[in-house]
Symmetry: C2
Subunit: 261 residues, 2 copies
């Protein structure tokens, strides 16, 4: 039977409604919201690093007697709040600029310092947002590796469900893309990804036990993400303390580097 124009229109509008509902549902998906927050955080941090070093280098060019290492943290805020580079120089306790910049040049410099401070503020706020979303969405994993680490693991895995279904060996190396690529070309496998490494139990341990502790913690992180995804009872502080104690036991079991074979 022929399709009437009315029927065609009905099908078209139904498709639009269904598609819209799909988009609207995805807004409720905490995985995508966490991804937005964490990606925005990463992008802001990379912008901050670039703009901050430019700001310091610029100050160093125009104020040659300024001690860039000692005053690094002060420079952007002093430049952003000063009326001229001469004032900024005296606030920073250094000689006035031998070749002061023109008005427009000074404005560009000051604006870039303001940008630098503004981004630092944004970073703080987005970190707060990530912490609170992660503590809600991944309560056990947040207790184990910290809310920021939990958020990163979840985003790197591509969502909470994929994280919960991931073997712990994959969790162990999440964030070690480059090392895994090298491994595929024959290099030894990485001992840990960036998230597991950032845990003090791993990064503050001697080299030769890092891999062992990372493997242990990745196993625990794997269980934690399953508890979070499949609505288990979150771990208590005692259970977390128990895990931290065990990772210290591993460390004390290998006090000296292994002999070279």
């Amino acid at each position: 039977p022929e399709v009437t124009i009315e029927e065609e229109q009905m099908v078209a509008s139904a498709a639009t409604i269904l598609a819209r509902r799909g988009v609207a549902m995805s807004a409720g998906d905490p995985d995508r919201r966490l991804d937005m927050l964490v990606s925005s955080q990463i992008e802001l941090r990379s912008a901050w690093t670039t703009i901050e070093s430019r700001c310091i280098e610029w100050a160093g060019l125009l104020l040659p007697t300024l001690d860039l290492d000692a005053k690094r943290d002060l420079i952007p805020s002093v430049i952003a709040s000063s009326e001229s580079l001469q004032v900024a120089a005296s606030d920073l306790g250094t000689d006035p600029p031998p070749h002061p910049p023109g008005v427009e040049e000074w404005c560009a410099m000051k604006e870039s310092a303001e940008r630098c401070i503004g981004i630092a503020k944004s970073l703080e706020l987005s970190e707060q947002a990530i912490r609170s979303l992660a503590a809600n969405y991944l309560p056990t994993l947040s207790k184990l590796v910290g809310p920021l680490g939990a958020a990163k693991l979840c985003v790197l895995a591509g969502g909470r469900e994929r994280l919960a279904r991931m073997p712990s060996g994959s969790i162990q190396v999440l964030g070690a893309h480059a090392a895994m690529a090298a491994h595929r070309r024959g290099a030894p496998p990485p001992k840990h990804g960036s998230v597991i490494f950032s845990m003090p139990q791993v990064s503050r341990s001697p080299r030769w036990v890092r891999g062992k502790i990372a493997r242990f913690l990745a196993g625990k992180a794997s269980i934690a993400s399953r508890i979070d995804h499949f609505d288990g009872t979150p771990w208590s502080d005692d259970e977390i303390a128990e895990i931290h104690k065990k990772s210290e036991e591993i460390r004390s079991r290998f006090p000296s580097p292994p002999r070279r074979k």
Copy 2:
């Protein structure tokens, strides 16, 4: 003869004074100041691109009925100035968010939109500064290729003196790093770098004359940079108009594409 401690100290302090004077001199070097401005501009623009697209994508996730293409330019400023996402949605003429964000999430989103606008403002100011510095430092070249193009050529060449001593064929391909690298591996040579291409005489001409016009203009740019560096008399507007007329003559001499051999 032995060197006394006093003499040693004198030599040391003399070295420090000379080194300081060197640093102070470099602050007076317009090449380095232009490099600071142009590099900062490039870094700010790349930060802006990333943060702006994140901001649009974020709005699209939480406001699924929003038309992202039509409202793209409005989204960051409306979000930055609204009190909540609900208000922003109604200001943007779209449905309220089906899953409104939490307080912290909204703050992070709003901050990121503010960052986006702030960087756009910085970009404008740094462009002004580049224009005024370039018009002073490279008057003839600025007239020929515009102050921003002149500044970019100068920074890409590594300073005004190096630009003035550069063969015009090199000026023609300044900014075409990738194409030049491919040329070294056997690809045909690039017809123009990014700066010469950005001149409307080149980019708005048909493909088959672009290389010819780029070569002609690069030759003129080479002369212009020599005039600027070796204190020649800057070109008058008539001389510039003459050059533009000639490049149009080249275009009209090749109205149709060449036959394939």
